[in-house]
Symmetry: none
Subunit: 204 residues, 2 copies
Amino acid sequence: MGRKKLAMRRIENATTRQVTYAKRKDGIVKKASELAVLCDTDVAVVMFSPTGRLTTFASNGRVEDIFLRFVDRPDELRGGPIANEEFLSERLKQLKYEGEMLEKIATYYEPSVEKINTVLEAGVYQQFLTSAIQRVQLSKLQAAIVPMDDTTTSVAHHTVNQSRMSPGKDDDEGGTMGPHLSLSFLEAKKRWEKIRNVTVNPTS
Amino acid sequence: MGRKKLAMRRIENATTRQVTYAKRKDGIVKKASELAVLCDTDVAVVMFSPTGRLTTFASNGRVEDIFLRFVDRPDELRGGPIANEEFLSERLKQLKYEGEMLEKIATYYEPSVEKINTVLEAGVYQQFLTSAIQRVQLSKLQAAIVPMDDTTTSVAHHTVNQSRMSPGKDDDEGGTMGPHLSLSFLEAKKRWEKIRNVTVNPTS
DNA sequence: CGGTCTATATATAACCG
DNA sequence: TCGGTTATATATAGACC
């Protein structure tokens, strides 16, 4: 919404990025507060600036409270699929631009795993993983068209109803990954099958 | 931003309120995702609809993670030059491994898209990928602690902005994070870690 | 309800001091 | 880096299905 249309990808210029962050951060906070007021609801936002500074917004004053409400809620979906389609969509746009470069970087990086320039490398992998997610996401979308009449789009925003269903104590294998890839994968699948009902059809 | 300027107060008509919520909710999620992509930052949003439905957004896939980052901020910075090169190196090797596996999975998965039973299966992969991303995110975060440094790097700068619904644009400084954690909140956090059996600090 | 379709209200990218 | 200013890009209130 400015003089020019911004490409949906990481802003390279650090200064510009910071400036944009500052502005948009305020914009989101404003939007959040408006939503809270207009709809009389609880809203919380947590953002980290490019430089690591934290900004939060909570309609009731404390982010903790809203997150607690979030936590105390039946948590079937926590640990479910990634938050939403839109973000992945944006991500996709971003990768569209960086796709080729990413491969080059990856290749370039390949031989020197030992002496990686940590941050950069981690970023590369993150992107790769994100890319992988997208593929899955896309597949999911395609698949979603076929299945029954469950709310095919409900999974998108992680929107869940207040009513609960199964106590699915979700968790995440966290750091025990690495060598146990298949195992964690199976566990993830297990969890998913356990909570499928809720996940697939949170529709009212 | 509509045919008329809406007064900034609770919308009385329940239906209208719900509709507005639905629209604005999407708007915020979009804004949040854009911010995350454009500025390459962590963003999390938690919203409750007028009817109690929960909607979340997290640039890295899980609100918990960003929230935990929010909570553990002090700890995060406490460790000092944690940049255990060896650890990171190992970490990245693992990530590399994961990446390769993911690629296989994705490849193996792609051709059978039509056979996917439901959206759920995609969800399984998604969750897996998401958790993988989280680890990358953590590595990235840790690595960033040491190298990155500029005007806003001191621990003291990491403050919380408890902005409230003020029509203005300035964001007021709240206070430092750690000391403000309520007891109940800390308990909730602990419960979380127990449930998820995961530590924010991958060093473990 | 969910979507669609405008007419308007807002958010902001690029600039400038 | 930090605030304003202005031209454009977006978000959305209301109306209609």
